[in-house]
Symmetry: C14
Subunit: 93 residues, 14 copies
């Protein structure tokens, strides 16, 4: 049962690290983009339509990277192919 435990441990650890490290840069990048956008809105309220549209498209692109990490993290917890293989192996014994 040792192998199974090792895979479980490393899956848990990696899942946590992946999402927590993976949100660092998107959060900082989005914070920067929003901050500048808010600042620009104050300088040029007339351009608010263009600014807001560009901002939200940009945020979606950045957010997509945080979601890559979330997907990997979820896959490691709930749909881990290595874990499934080992479980079926153990069950088949």
């Amino acid at each position: 049962m040792d192998n199974m435990t090792l895979i479980a441990i490393i899956s848990i650890l990696t899942a946590g690290l992946t999402i927590s490290i993976g949100v660092i840069a998107p959060a900082l990048g989005e914070g920067r983009a929003i901050a500048t956008a808010v600042n620009s809105l104050a300088q040029q309220p007339d351009a608010s339509a263009t600014i807001t549209r560009t901002l939200f498209v940009g945020l979606a692109i950045i957010e997509s990277m945080a979601i890559y990490c979330f997907v990997v993290s979820m896959v490691l917890i709930f749909a881990n192919p290595f874990w499934n293989y080992v479980i079926s192996e153990t069950a088949g014994k």
Copy 2:
């Protein structure tokens, strides 16, 4: 009972690290966004509606990343599939 303990240990450690590392960037990003928003409000009080709306949408997007981490952390403590498997395994023996 060793396997169970190892999984428990790593779950506790990862749960703590995930949430504590995971809030670093969102908190900094939100702090930056709020700071700029407050500053912009002082420069252009007339645009407060647009600024505030853009800010809160942005904060929600950033907050979502902190919540991904909180979700992973809670899942590891209270709904950990690896732990459940091992517990059921132990009970079934």
Copy 3:
């Protein structure tokens, strides 16, 4: 009794690290937001109502992340499911 001790140790360590690492970014973010708000109040005293309201909503959102960490830390000390399981296990022997 070894397993129990290991879980206790890791719970103590993680509880401490979670809260101490977890307050780093919220405290810095809030410090930044407050600093800018105070500065903006000095520039535009007339907008103090809007500024203060936006600031306190923002602080609440950032504070929520410190509280996630505090919750996880408290759960690990006083309502740790892994510890409870092991204790009940030991008692049941």
Copy 4:
């Protein structure tokens, strides 16, 4: 007696680290807020009432995070549930 010692060691170490790491960010954040507030007072002495009030509310919110850490640190030294459990266990033997 080994388990008891291990728990004692880790409690001492964590208590120290929690408070020493935990005050880093609040102290920096408060230093920044106070510095800006003092600067703003010099620029706009008339707004001193609003500035001072906003500052002290903000400091209280940041200080609360240092106090979370102090609470966890004190709990680990003087009201540690894991230590109490082990002591009572040892006494009951």
Copy 5:
């Protein structure tokens, strides 16, 4: 079965690290580009067509690097040639 487990462990760990480390720089770089673009839009609303086009071409180039990482991460989880070789080896025994 030891070899298989080792390869599984290292694949999980590397998959998580690759995507979480790999999005750091693209997210920061995109955040910066978007922030400047939004700022430029506020300064020169007339050039919005050129700015937006240059921005989106640039974002696509940066995003490509995050996708390299995602591809490697997915390959390691779902189409790992080393894992496949070992599995077929084990099955063939």
Copy 6:
């Protein structure tokens, strides 16, 4: 006598680290606050009463965090409950 020594060692190490790490941020924060205050006094000598009062209240709040660390450090050297327990245990044997 091994347990006693271990607790002594970790108490010494933690006491030193707690105070030395714990003064980093307060000292930097206070240095910043004082620097700005001195600068503000030069810009607006008339507001010296308000500035000085706000400064000293702020310094007291920051100093409190250094004192939390000093208290924990002193407790670990001179009033360590874990050490006292072990000593009494040893004496009672």
Copy 7:
């Protein structure tokens, strides 16, 4: 079979690290270049042809470095000479 496993492990780990570390600097460098280009376009829309051409040549040069890393990473996963040698060695036995 130990040697084979070791080479597999190190290939996986290195492939992941190579691409994830290798995109850090290109992504940051490109982000900076795009940000400045967008800013320059807003300042001098008339020079957009020269600016865009210089930008895209530059991005291609920087992108080439990310592609060096991707090539090495792919080679390590799908065309690893060391792995091939060991496999053929094992097959030939």
Copy 8:
């Protein structure tokens, strides 16, 4: 005699680290405060009385933190309760 040596070693190491790490921040903080004060004196020589007084009170407060560290360091070398206990123990044997 092993325990005694261990306590001696850790006391020496901690004493050195405590004072050397502990003076980092106070020295930087004081350097900053003095630099600003000197600068302010050049801008507003008439306010030199107020500036100098505020500066020296501030330096005393920051210096107090370096002295906490020096006290702990000296206590660990010349009045270490753990060392005294072990010595008296050894002598009493």
Copy 9:
């Protein structure tokens, strides 16, 4: 076969690290140079010939350093003298 494996492992690891670490600085340096060039083109479109020529000579010099690293990396994978020696040694046995 142990020696061979060790050399293979270290070659793989070094090849990956060499290229991934080696492109960090060139990419950043080129990003900076391109950013400034683009900015200068916007300020002085008349000097575009001189600026572009100087830029591309400079980029070639910086790129040469990334190519040194790529050469070493390729040599380690495909023309490694140590590996060749060991292979011929093994074959000659």
Copy 10:
């Protein structure tokens, strides 16, 4: 003789680290203070008496911290109480 050697080793190492780490911050702080003072002298040569006096008092306060470290370092090399105890112990045997 092992204990003696260990104490000697740790004393040498700590003495070196204490002074080398301990001069980092004072040197930087003094460099900053002197730089600003020199700059201020150039701006306001008439205030040179006040500036120079404040500077030298400040340098003395910062230098005191480097001297704390030098004292601890010298004590550890030439007047180490732990070493003296062990030597007298060995001699008395």
Copy 11:
């Protein structure tokens, strides 16, 4: 054959690290110099002869340092005196 392998391993590792670490600073330094030169050309196109000459002399001096590293790296791979000694030793046996 163990000694030979160890020397081979360390030579490979050092060769890779030397060149990859060794190009960091030259690349950054050259990037900075080129960026400033390009900027200066835009400000003062008349001085382009002097600027370009000074720039290329400077780049050559900086490049020389990257070449020192490349030389050491090549020596370690293709003309390593320690490796040659060991090979001849082995051959002479």
Copy 12:
């Protein structure tokens, strides 16, 4: 002879580290002071006497800290009391 070697090793290592780490901050601090002084001389050539005098007094104070480190380093190589004790001990046997 083991003890002697250990002390020799640690003395060599510490001597090297002490001087190399110990010159970091003084060199940076002096570089900063000289840079500002040179700059101030260009702004106010008339104050060159006062500036130069203040600069050289300051440099002497900073240099003193590098000399503390050099003294400790030389003492550890050429007048190491621990080494002398062990040598005399060995000779006396």
Copy 13:
């Protein structure tokens, strides 16, 4: 033959590290000096003789430090006294 190998290994490793770490600061320092010189030439083309002379004397002084490192690195590879001693020792046996 073990001693010989160890000395060879450490010489290779140190030679590589010495030159690669040793060129970091000179390259950055020279890059900065050249950048400022080029900038100054653009501002004041008339002073080009003085500027160029001061620059090249300065570069020679900084380059001397990179050459110290190159000398040590070459000595360790081609004229290593420790290696020579061990070789002669081995030959004399």
Copy 14:
């Protein structure tokens, strides 16, 4: 012969590290000083005599620190008292 080898190894390693770490700060400090001096020469060509003299005195003081490190490094390679002692010891046997 083990002791001798250990001392040789540590001497080689320390010699390399001492000079490579030891030139970091002097090179940066000198780079900064030269950069500012060159800049000042462009601003005030008339003060070139004073500026150059102050610069070269300053460079000599900073260079002295790099030379301390070079001296220690050379002493460790060519006039190492610990190595000499061990050699004479071995010869005398």
